[in-house]
């Protein structure tokens, strides 16, 4: 209404006259400043100069990318694979020569087992080969559920979860729990799959010297002091220790009882990777926890792949339901990938059956390992890395020539010499540029339960011959 407006206007004008001078001046300056900002030209920080269209076209024309991949020379050592014709079992035909297999991780000799093959065949006739879908979308078969429950019963844990690829098991498990801001303490000799899992998790990684509990304790103490300075942050920062049961790079065992003590003292969780020790250590093959007599509930997560002792494909994690159930929704390799083909799961179930029926195989395997360990001591020019109970040992050069390439060539000549004499060995392979702590070049010697006394003696004699002929010169 007119009177209302007028009345307000009169009040306004009155206020204008009554206001103190500095107030009016301040308001005036502010209004002028706003007007100036409104009309000034905006500029982005990184485009303080503008390129003309012609200049842009020139830049685009000039730019030359690198080649997609650098060329690889014809005689690059890892380019030409050794070709195996026929089944990769105890007697293996490699590059046309029949050899005794001292190179594949077939610890319990189950690659060639008739029962396992029959079960896989029966499963193939029922389900076909592939699963055509991830676990969430009709890719869960009753075989998967059975294998998971069998594995959890075998390892005496609450639950187990199955992955379709051994490498992806630990590489998906670590980032599911540890995120940016969390802290992980890892052994220096951790395998590549663990390193990829660590990289994917974006957490803060602290390496401690291989199997050195004092170094680990020092790092934990430092972290404790940090936590005291900032208790709010410490309350939400999770801490993990990731170790392997039997290290694939150095063939020795982690000191698990001390680790469990450190766990409760400094309140960190332990993730144990048991790819090499599952089905090898312990009275019943349950791995390094059984070997040391540690209560399995003390380990938060055990991850293993089924490609070594179980002679199948894939991997699994086991532990308490509280821990494992989380991976069903957040394990990347579980949710976004097709499930394990059912015939491979059926083969793994049968392999587990065989392991449970005859626990004596583990003792026999350990004796053979000890035997080979003792026999290979004192090889001229080579030194043996590992512990007597490890089934996959490393033979390193006693005196390195200084260049990794020439070391590899020398070791390769030893391997070739042995292959000529029908003993199949292999070089331990790794990606030189990607590994954090590069292990020295070595020959991998694998002990399996199918090797007889004379096989072992022949192999040892062959290696000694090769070493003295080619390395001592």
């Amino acid at each position: 209404m007119a009177t209302g407006q007028q009345w307000v206007l009169v009040e306004m004008v009155q206020a204008f006259y009554e206001a103190p001078a500095y107030h009016l001046i301040l308001e005036g300056i502010l209004i002028l400043w706003i007007i100036r900002l409104l009309f000034s030209k905006t500029y982005k920080l990184h485009e303080t100069y503008k390129l003309t269209e012609k200049e842009k076209e020139e830049l685009i024309e000039e730019w030359q990318p690198e080649a997609l991949v650098p060329p690889v020379s014809k005689d690059y050592p890892t380019l030409n694979y050794d070709v195996v014709t026929g089944p990769p079992s105890h007697k293996i035909t490699i590059n046309g020569k029949d050899c005794i297999n001292f190179a594949s991780f077939n610890f319990l000799g189950l690659l060639d087992n008739e029962r396992v093959k029959q079960k896989a065949l029966a499963s193939l006739k029922k389900y076909g080969v592939g699963t055509c879908g991830p676990r969430g979308f009709y890719g869960t078969f009753d075989v998967h559920l059975e294998l998971e429950s069998r594995l959890s019963k075998f390892m005496k844990t609450e639950e187990a979860i199955l992955y379709s690829y051994g490498f992806a098991t630990i590489a998906s498990a670590i980032p599911a729990y540890s995120k940016r801001g969390d802290i992980i303490f890892v052994d220096e000799a951790a395998c590549f799959a663990i390193q990829k899992g660590l990289q994917a998790s974006r957490s803060l990684i602290k390496y401690f010297k291989h199997n050195d509990m004092e170094d680990l304790e020092r790092l934990l103490k430092e972290q404790e002091l940090e936590d005291l300075k900032n208790p709010r942050k410490a309350r939400v920062t999770r801490k993990f220790i990731v170790v392997e049961g039997l290290y694939i790079n150095t063939a020795d065992i982690c000191p698990l009882p001390e680790l469990v003590k450190l766990k409760y003292k400094y309140k960190v969780r332990i993730f144990l990777e048991e790819s090499m020790s599952f089905g090898v250590l312990g009275d019943h093959g349950r791995g390094v926890t059984e070997h040391f007599g540690v209560n399995i509930d003390d380990i938060d997560l055990i991850s293993a792949n089924m490609e070594n002792a179980l002679a199948s494909i894939g991997g699994f994690c086991c532990g308490r339901s509280f821990v494992i159930d989380h991976q069903r929704l957040s394990g990347q390799g579980y949710c976004f990938s097709a499930s394990l083909p059912p015939m491979l799961a059926a083969a793994a179930i049968e392999a587990l059956n065989i392991m449970e029926e005859d626990p004596d195989v583990f003792r026999v395997l350990r004796e053979k390992c000890k035997h080979v360990y003792n026999a290979l001591q004192g090889t001229p020019g080579l030194k043996l890395a590992g512990v007597p109970v490890a089934p996959a040992l490393h033979l390193e050069l006693e005196r390195s020539s200084g260049s990794r390439e020439s070391d590899m060539k020398q070791l390769r000549s030893v391997v070739d010499y042995c292959m000529e004499r029908h003993v199949a060995l292999t070089l331990a392979r790794c990606l030189e540029k990607e590994e954090r702590f590069l292990p020295p070049p070595s020959i991998r010697v694998v002990v399996t339960i199918e090797q007889t006394e004379e096989d072992i003696q022949k192999a040892v004699a062959c290696i000694r011959e090769a070493a003295s002929a080619l390395l001592i010169s």
Partner: protein, 495 residues
């Protein structure tokens, strides 16, 4: 508009209930079914933040029975499901022991129908199982490289029309282990908005800079390319070492096909490299089943890195990368998978060889090309009928992945359950695989579906759609939905 409002309301109500239930659980008024931390470890830093699992506890648990449904037969066009019952609202499941037989399978990625347990593929796989065993127990570079692997790789190269190929044991791992081998620090990855988790993980692990362009939007891609070349790396202004464009053939949640001719034109103009992930499109698109390159009639040499999986159209498992000889030689020595991961299992390799021969017609029959044609026909028919009924469908007309929009959270659970009651198995997806208001049901057409099965499925979908009011579209053909089929329209024609 109305639908969007109702969807947000639905989520709002669920969130409020979620907070209420959490409150009750915290004060122990309601019994808590969640697994608990160990007593001795109660004073450790908690493994999960409570808030992270809010969605899981309160929304996902209600409709959990639509996923992880166990099956006990071949995942073919029809399957047998194990019946599950839950007495405590989906916290635990029990198996009643009964089997639901002959459920029409619209969920498995069985595009060409090779998921079968009889026939030449299964026979040769059986032979190989008995001869070679199931496992390999060594890596490709050590002693796990079998002659069958080499033969399969040569065959894949022939199939795709490229110089050479290399195969890996897991499709997910193929991406996450080989992208880091190709690009590294100082390189740029331009990836589509809706790329799969494996591509995102591979890009992150490589350490290069990642820039995202809008889904299938060529202007957005060109803008990013120009900006990248002109301005170089951020802060140091050095030129980029390489630019890699990462796209997929068919996007699994949208059903859309990549605009390959335009991407290749852009790539040639700006000298970038193209990484094409054909996980869903290999075998499923194209007149000869050779994937999206065949569909557009382009030259496979234009795509620098062709990647695909064997899980979907070949009924096996694993992935491959194919391209020029130099690329594959580099990958043989530098790929993470070749050095550290066990090689593929022999029967799986045999299945790939046989099914590929079948598709190429090298086994002397025409089964392969018939299946490719059948899939194309099924796809077109299914999509046409759904659109006529009034549903909103996403994706390209030729893609066998058909997402049907549901939008509201309650309908996700209801749709899945109603379809199962009527003996049809479908896949429903919600957040976080899709944006929160765009939940959908996704159908995967197979060459194994006969026209009868498709008609049966379509009738049921229409019924459920009426029941749940899912026919959001305004372009409905009154003919097919309003009246029953056997009516007077065709009487005069028959006479």
């Amino acid at each position: 508009m109305m639908v969007a409002v109702l969807t947000y309301m639905g989520y709002g109500i669920l969130t409020i209930f979620g907070y209420l239930r959490d409150f009750l659980r915290h004060w122990k008024i309601e019994r808590c079914h969640i697994a608990r931390e160990k007593e001795e470890q109660k004073d450790f830093v908690p493994l999960y933040q409570d808030f992270e699992n809010f969605y899981t506890r309160n929304l996902y648990m209600r409709i959990r029975d639509n996923w992880n449904r166990p099956i006990c037969s071949v995942p073919g066009a029809k399957m047998d499901l194990m019946e599950r019952a839950t007495y405590d609202y989906n916290w635990t499941f029990e198996y009643t022991g009964r089997v639901v037989q002959d459920v029409i399978n619209l969920g498995s990625y069985n595009y060409l129908g090779f998921a079968e347990n009889t026939g030449p593929c299964a026979d040769s796989a059986a032979e190989v199982t008995m001869k070679y065993g199931v496992g390999v127990a060594s890596t490709r570079q050590e002693i796990g490289n079998l002659d069958r692997h080499e033969e399969m790789e040569k065959q894949v190269a022939r199939f795709l029309g490229v110089e050479s190929a290399m195969a890996f044991g897991m499709g997910f791992a193929t991406n996450s282990m080989n992208i880091p081998a190709l690009v590294g620090k100082g390189c740029l990855i331009l990836s589509d908005e809706l790329n799969h988790a494996s591509l995102v993980l591979g890009a992150r692990l490589s350490g290069s800079t990642i820039r995202v362009f809008k889904h299938n939007n060529m202007q957005s891609l060109e803008k990013l390319l120009r900006e990248a070349i002109v301005h170089g790396q951020p802060r140091t202004r050095r030129p980029w070492k390489k630019i890699l464009i990462v796209v997929e053939g068919i996007y699994s949640m949208e059903g859309s096909i990549v605009r390959l001719p335009e991407v290749i034109a852009l790539k040639k103009r700006y000298r970038a490299y193209l990484y094409l992930d054909e996980a869903h499109s290999i075998g499923a698109l194209g007149p000869r089943g050779r994937g999206v390159v065949d569909y557009f009639g382009l030259d496979p040499c234009d795509v620098d890195v062709m990647m695909g999986t064997f899980t979907k159209s070949f009924g096996a498992a694993g992935g491959y990368i194919a391209g020029k000889r130099e690329l594959i030689e580099y990958l043989r020595s530098h790929s993470h998978s070749a050095v550290y991961a066990t090689s593929m299992s022999p029967p799986v390799v045999e299945q790939i060889i046989t099914s590929m021969k079948c598709i190429m017609g090298e086994d002397g029959t025409t089964i392969g090309s018939e299946r490719v044609q059948q899939l194309a026909e099924n796809t077109v028919y299914f999509r046409k009928r759904l659109r006529e009924m009034g549903f909103i469908i996403y994706g390209n007309n030729d893609s066998p992945v058909v997402p049907l929009m549901l939008y509201m959270p309650a309908k996700i659970g209801a749709f899945g359950r109603e379809m199962l009651k009527r003996n049809i198995g479908v896949v429903v997806v919600g957040f976080p695989a899709t944006p929160i208001i765009e939940s959908r049901a996704r159908f995967c057409i197979s060459a194994g579906h006969s026209k009868n099965m498709l008609d049966q499925a379509l009738n049921v979908i229409s019924e459920v759609g009426d029941l749940l009011q899912l026919k959001y579209s305004h372009h409905r053909l009154q003919l097919s939905s309003a009246r029953p089929f056997d009516d007077d329209v065709y009487e005069d024609i028959d006479d």
